[in-house]
């Protein structure tokens, strides 16, 4: 028996199991079809979305394509799209702003259901007061601490509603690094002193969560959500966007790759443990070697619209068998009206971590 005739476990595997046929031999247009989903998502499915700023783009694309994404804290009428975004409306299913870490998601859910009370939850800047757990949703703060508490009570009610109503909760994992209150472990979405608040080295510390911690936080979130919504499914993604900065003391590229590996591993582990948890590879689609840097803006950090569209098209093809990618329309002359400018501006996303760019040398 020759070596080529010998039995081996790779012999009858399909083309997608081999790098040469599945990656080297694929075009950027087809590389995205790489996912076998665990469940179906239809236009009638009630989706909830949360996560880092890449999730905002997924949400917008899903809404544009007619999918039902909960919005339980809608904006007041009269705001422009730009103002809506500035005040944190429409970005996610509730007005919680970006949720970068699994701990932050768990913390929010536990707070919403009365199992957690955050410490030092109100930050100040001059005479204005901010919700430390979503410091950018009121960009100029509120007039009193009482007003912040009042807004938060309302918000937590809506978070409960989101968790209890969602059929599929889509969470985009963003970071492993987070700033915490050392005494209580309360996690903040931004470092104190960046948007508001005051950094106190004795009180605030940067933590870098491990894969086990991320997995445990996601599992805790899932368990809590399922006590209130037993049929809810959890769909995890990892943002393909790279972080703005690291506070680990390591080179940002090293720290960022560690972070992606941790998030990917934790998501993969939870997916393998739970029938109702799936992982969608938006990170892999945007960063795949066939695409090179095609899906990244010149800063090599932010995903382009084409990257977001590639991810969402792959998402829809995977989760919705009936979905067909619309034919690309003929290019139209650029619309330069003020209204079009406003819409284009609103196509941007609100990323709290970009505030850190201000501190780059």
């Amino acid at each position: 028996m020759t070596q080529s005739q010998a039995r081996n476990p790779y012999k009858n595997l399909p083309p997608e199991a081999f790098w040469r046929t599945a990656v080297t031999g694929r075009s950027v247009e087809t590389i995205g079809i790489i996912h076998q989903p665990k469940f179906h998502i239809g236009q009638e499915t009630t989706l909830a979305m949360a996560g880092s700023c890449f999730a905002q783009r997924l949400l917008r694309h899903l809404r544009t394509r007619g999918f039902q994404v909960l919005d339980l804290e809608p904006p007041p009428p009269g705001l422009t799209p730009e103002e809506e975004m500035r005040f944190g409306f429409g970005l996610y299913s509730a007005r919680h702003g970006n949720i970068y870490t699994a701990r932050q998601l768990r913390q929010l859910a536990e707070e919403a259901f009365g199992l957690f009370t955050p410490a030092n939850a109100i930050w100040q800047k001059a005479d204005r007061f901010f919700d430390a757990l979503r410091p950018t949703i009121e960009p100029n703060g509120l007039a009193s601490a009482a007003a912040v508490k009042d807004q938060r009570r309302f918000h937590l009610r809506k978070v409960r509603d989101v968790i209890t109503q969602a059929q599929v909760f889509v969470f985009t994992l963003g970071l492993t690094e987070a700033w915490t209150d050392v005494r209580t472990g309360t996690v903040y979405p931004t470092a104190p002193g960046v948007a508001c608040g005051e950094y106190d080295p004795a009180r605030h510390r940067c933590v870098n969560f491990t894969a086990q911690q991320v997995r445990d936080d996601l599992a805790a979130f899932l368990a809590l959500a399922k006590t209130h919504n037993p049929s809810m499914k959890l769909l995890l993604t990892v943002t393909p966007q790279w972080p703005v900065a690291t506070a680990t003391g390591k080179h940002v590229l090293v720290a960022a790759n560690y972070s992606k590996a941790v998030l990917r591993a934790a998501a993969g582990q939870l997916q393998s443990e739970h029938r109702d948890v799936d992982y969608f590879p938006s990170y892999e689609i945007a960063t795949n070697p066939v695409a090179g840097n095609l899906y990244f803006q010149p800063n090599l950090r932010t995903v382009t619209d084409a990257g977001a569209v590639a991810a969402i098209d792959a998402f829809l093809i995977a989760y919705n068998a009936e979905w067909q990618i619309p034919v690309t329309p003929e290019p139209q002359p650029a619309d330069t009206t003020p209204q079009a400018d406003a819409i284009r501006t609103a196509e941007d996303v609100a990323c709290d971590d970009e505030l850190l760019e201000t501190y780059a040398p």
Partner: protein
């Protein structure tokens, strides 16, 4: 002789009736009224130095009381009446929201800044402001916005006594005024506020001014028992016009 051009919706009826009562005293003032259902004003287009109806329906409505249904650029002042510009419309649109300084209840709490931006945005999109921008495109003469009157206190809605009791009524009125200031700066206009003597509180008009309110358009049938708490009578219209004529420049 000062020539005024009043452009408005059903609320123009009170002004027209009021004008009939006082015009003999005011011989130096001439008023031309152009009224139509507010939604029809989307068909009013800027054509050179005139505003011209682009639909037969608007043309007929504007032509009811004028020899030609065209608004020219040579009036001394343009007065825009109602056309969705009202505290009632603005607060109704924001009914599910409260600014942080309003009383705690089930409405969604937002910052004062956000509430003001929303109210200004709503009013900016009103038919009144749309027409104002068209007027501004043909004329640099003064523009006065007359908001539709506050609802009559004959209304049985329990909301209004509650808002008055909590102090929210005054706050909402203050937001309306602040939003109006923003918009007036944008289009170089001014607002003529509802005369104080017609108000019961910041959000309600005394019922006496709603008694026997004239109808500008009679083509819309109303259900049995329907009570009009929105429109005011000629006495109200006369008070508003006197206040208008007392403003500088007239």
């Amino acid at each position: 002789m000062k020539r005024l051009c009043v452009i408005g919706d059903s609320h123009t009826a009170a002004l027209r009736q009021g004008w009939q009562a006082i015009k003999r005293e005011l011989t130096e003032i001439n008023i031309t009224f152009f009224s139509a259902h507010r939604t029809r004003f989307v068909d009013l287009a800027v054509c050179g130095d005139r505003l011209v109806p682009q639909s037969e329906e608007l043309s007929q409505l504007l032509g009811r009381t004028n020899s030609e249904p065209v608004i020219r650029a040579d009036y001394d002042r343009y007065v825009l009446c109602g056309l969705d510009y009202s505290i009632l419309w603005a607060m109704g649109s924001l009914m599910s929201f409260r600014s942080e300084d309003q009383a705690l209840d089930n409405r969604a709490p937002i910052s004062q800044e956000c509430y003001l931006l929303a109210m200004a945005g709503l009013l900016r999109g009103s038919i009144n402001l749309q027409v104002a921008r068209k007027v501004r495109a043909i004329a640099d003469r003064p523009i006065t916005i007359i908001p539709a009157p506050c609802i009559s206190d004959a209304t049985e809605l329990k909301l209004y006594p509650r808002l008055e009791k909590t102090g929210d009524a005054q706050k909402i009125a203050d937001y309306f005024a602040a939003a109006s200031d923003i918009l007036c700066r944008e289009i170089d206009a001014e607002v003529l506020w509802q005369p104080a003597e017609t108000l019961r509180d910041p959000l309600r008009t005394l019922a006496i001014f709603g008694k026997d309110a004239p109808r500008e358009f009679t083509d819309a049938p109303k259900p049995d028992g329907w009570k009009d708490h929105m429109h005011m009578n000629g006495e109200y219209g006369a008070l508003v016009l006197r206040a208008l004529i007392a403003t500088p420049g007239l």
